[in-house]
Symmetry: C4
Subunit: 226 residues, 4 copies
């Protein structure tokens, strides 16, 4: 590489970093805004007992906060994992990423809505649609990256097991199922589904991921990206 | 380059990156704040039907949210596209960028105002002024960059089609027209104008951009920045 | 290092930087959100005297704001200090960091709760749990980094005095003690405990840190990271 | 530089960048939060006239918003200008910077307070104290950097005119004067002082800066940082 090529290369690298750091800023704000939906109620006659009652009434909101915190955190780690392969941007990747972020930005609202009305079905359905949509956008991102024709990822990394769509598929499967079950199960039971389904699916996925990793290294040698 | 020159060069590069990352942080916050204007209403007697009605009443706010999300996203991609040319900062570029950001920062307010009163003309006019102003600031930024005398951009990139002002001109044209039409059309119809005008103008602009790109490469050779 | 190894090295470095910059964004938002919990009250008949009374009533909120500002700032400097050692990421480090951030994100809420009810015990206990938990997470992070088997830190820096857990232990000790004392002391006195305990413990810790630094340099030579 | 020294150098550079990018995130949030203090009022019977009246009543808030936007923007450009000299961090620089940020974080509150009660003196005094304090912290930062003994800045840049304290002194002088004048002038006139005083002082300062720059280059040659 001569000086010009190097400058061009640095510029391209920074353009990618800029997309990633913008993404992280949106993630950071969305995950932190979750907590401002939990308001400290004002009391006319505050006593120890009154403020404890107030806190107890906020429990559904805290449950909603923790659930969304971990969901957003999981999507952030996923973004961190898959964007390490990106070597080149195209317009489509930029916009898939922006629509992915749109679904992240909506989470403080859908979280507040479902945890404000934690005994109802409708808010859970909206919340589930939001998260399923995020998962589908992650799949769209991964499929775009793993398509060798786009040359966004260095060969042979477009076949890397971290771009396998089984993992991002878990979340849409769980949450779309929970929408179907919303008409059968009581609303509070719906909120338990992720806690039951995810560990099970994660266990199955880990086995699949190991198998894919072995196959990937068998095909391309151990020197490729772990 | 000796050690000192290299250190100086890295420092200058970081000063530019700092402006860009500050810009991205402002964009990220403005785009995420759009959603906190959509508040979950409190209900005394929440039922499935009541929370669905509540959601239905929020539809104009969601329409406003989606419109502003895509407008801010478009301006972010524009900033991402044009600042990749920047090789040097001057004071004027810094302040043009800050005033550009001022108009981005105002969007959560003008969005909330126009979607709270979606049946009225006045809020739409204010909103249109806000977006037209953003477009005009983008034009000011591009003109400043493409002025060869300022040496902010490496030769011959100041002639790059991505610095052509036809694209950023679309948004002021559409929104200033919508202000004029505000006195003729019913307020709801005004909100449809961008959805109709942008695809049409984008189509025309794509043709122009292709023509300009061919001319640019014809003049400077294929090795220049794509 | 050949070209491929260098690219791989740059990529790994950026993956670490990304975790750190995401962390900083969360810190920046949490520390800035502290102030939006302090609302300007609306007055029907604003006079100089009325707005001064309003301000006087906000004093407990400002005290809470300043306390939390410095606590979050201290944890940020701690993160800045300990993550400079990180040479490699693993999944556990990523998640320990995210749970650490969870406790930072909760601070605007627990701060608002304890400064809204500054004459009560319960809010102080919740606040103390929050901060003690942050301290425990910092200890978990440091223990994970200083475990040589994980190879996250270059040898011999896993023994660096800045990874000593005496310093992050101070905060849990002080705040858990204040919970115990909450049943003996009046609520306002509880709020004084940090102001008394920290300078004392910081003094003791400085002596310990000097001793550890001398031992570290004695063992590994003066060339290692200061 | 061998490999180890280079790694150490990159690490030190990133530690400085991290401080700067954290600072920028706080600035970005504070400047964007200014606008959420401007709330869209709800109307029971919204008409064109009613929403125009609502907007007219928000004018003092917009004036306050614009004033604070430009003040925060000026301090950001100042930080951008002076931190380009930083070659090394010490603990004192870290904490001076954090206290500087504390005063930036308070601005959304003091802005809201002074623009909510724009006909009163007290809120303006608090606002002026806030800004004067920011200016004093900038002076403290610059004095710390320009002290050659600390070796935070490469020789001879500690004598660079951009570290001259005349410029950051303007803001405390103007705002502390406005506090004194608060007991003589009517409250609305106070708000005009910055608009009158700053252009005048900026003009005087530009002349001084030119003189200092000439002296600096005369002493150290033209090759030093412009």
């Amino acid at each position: 590489m001569d000086g010009n090529e190097k400058a061009q290369h640095n510029r391209d690298a920074f353009q990618i970093e800029r997309v990633i750091l913008f993404t992280d800023a949106v993630f950071a704000i969305a995950i932190t805004l979750l907590v401002i939906e939990i308001k400290v109620p004002e009391l006319e006659h505050p006593t120890e007992q009154a403020v404890q009652v107030v806190l107890a009434h906020l429990i559904p909101k805290f449950v909603g906060f923790f659930l969304s915190f971990f969901i957003i955190a999981i999507y952030w780690t996923a973004h961190h994992r898959i964007f390490r392969f990106v070597r080149r941007l195209d317009n489509r990747l930029l916009w898939l990423n922006l629509v992915f972020l749109l679904s992240i930005i909506l989470m403080p609202f859908t979280t507040a809505y479902q945890s404000e009305y934690s005994l109802l079905r409708t808010p859970w359905i909206l919340y589930s649609i939001n998260i399923a949509f995020t998962g589908l956008m992650q799949i769209a991102l991964q499929r775009h990256l793993s398509n060798a024709r786009h040359k966004l990822v260095a060969h042979p990394e477009h076949e890397h097991p971290d771009l396998d769509i089984a993992r991002p598929l878990m979340s849409p499967v769980v949450f779309i199922s929970s929408i179907a079950l919303a008409f059968v199960l009581p609303p509070l039971a719906l909120r338990m589904i992720p806690a039951v389904a995810f560990p099970l699916l994660a266990f199955l996925n880990r086995k699949r991921h190991k198998r894919l990793t072995a196959a990937y290294h068998g095909k391309h040698g151990a020197t490729v990206l772990a």
